[in-house]
């Protein structure tokens, strides 16, 4: 068991509320700074919430966290650009099972 803190990375207006709830906030303004910040923060914090709008552009970086149990980077929906969740599920499901068991229509 290790003690860790949580961090949130995203645009300033969306993460303030997390800051108030006791999560450490790292505001970013664009994709480049988000990449920098995420890399740094993921090094120090075991749990990082990432604003979902940056999940798409930083996909390659997120993939690198898939190798180990920690750090856990969770893209969270913050209003803008939803759809990461569904894509994530679809992608994972396809890799492991090869069939769609959730979104069959």
């Amino acid at each position: 068991m290790m003690q860790g803190k949580m961090a949130v990375v995203g645009s300033a207006e969306t993460i303030t509320v997390f800051q108030a709830a006791g999560v450490e906030a790292f505001p970013v303004t664009d994709e480049k700074s988000a990449r920098e910040t995420l890399r740094r923060v993921a090094h120090d914090f075991p749990v990082v919430f990432l604003s979902e709008e940056y999940a798409g552009p930083l996909k390659d970086l997120l993939r690198r966290f898939d190798e180990e149990a920690y750090p856990v980077v969770l893209p969270i929906p913050t209003g803008k650009a939803a759809g990461y969740g569904e894509e994530f599920l679809r992608d994972t499901m396809e890799r492991a099972l090869g069939v769609d068991i959730l979104f069959r229509k």
Partner: protein, 206 residues
């Protein structure tokens, strides 16, 4: 299927037979492992979906509430009020073993987390209070989602790897070994027959 490049001797035959039985046993075990992993995976996947739907709804509500609060308070006041959170939340991070895959296990530890909000009531409106409270209440669920999502991710890679191993055994290793064993057996039988014929010939000559 190509056979292995070995000498057709009794020694090699014995060795290959041992390898074949190991391969078959390994294949069966890995297949069972794969089945169980897929079962766990589907369970986790469903939980992930359910949690994500819930979190998306709740978070959208909290964000909307917070945006509303932001409209009522100047942003610098808000930034100042929220920059010093009184209640710091931490996370207990351990790992759990799911079918040989290390997955994170996180639980929330909160220090003196209560109804007390980390700022003076005079500066911030009650809309903001609500949104902060909503997000605080949402944190355990978010952590669970983080945990499940990571587990699903790690399991999916492990299932893929395992599937490759099973297929390699089933479609390459085992046929190859079987073919080689058959070849050696034929060769040895052939030699035996040749020896008998030779003996018979020698006997009839004398």
């Amino acid at each position: 299927m190509a056979r292995l490049n070995v000498n057709p001797t009794r020694m090699e035959l014995k060795k290959l037979k041992a390898r074949l039985s190991t391969a078959v046993r390994g294949h069966k075990l890995l297949k069972d492992k794969s089945d169980e992993m897929v079962r766990r995976f589907t369970l986790l996947l469903r939980e992930d979906k359910r949690l994500r739907d819930e979190v998306e709804g709740d978070l959208a509500r909290a964000m909307k509430q917070f945006a509303l609060a932001g409209a009522l308070t100047p942003s610098y006041v808000q930034a100042a009020a929220f920059s010093m959170p009184a209640a710091t939340v931490g996370a207990d991070c351990g790992t759990e073993n799911v079918m040989g895959v290390e997955v994170p296990k996180i639980s929330l530890t909160e220090s003196e987390h209560s109804a007390a909000l980390p700022y003076a009531f005079s500066e911030i409106t009650s809309e903001a209070d609500d949104s902060v409270r909503m997000v605080s209440a949402l944190l355990p669920k978010l952590l669970r989602l983080a945990e499940v999502e990571k587990a699903v991710r790690l399991l999916s890679y492990e299932i893929e790897r395992n599937k490759r191993r099973v297929n390699a055994l089933e479609y390459v290793m085992i046929p190859q070994l079987e073919e080689t064993i058959k070849y050696i057996r034929n060769k040895l039988d052939e030699n035996e027959r040749a020896a008998i014929v030779r003996l018979m010939k020698v006997k009839s000559l004398s």
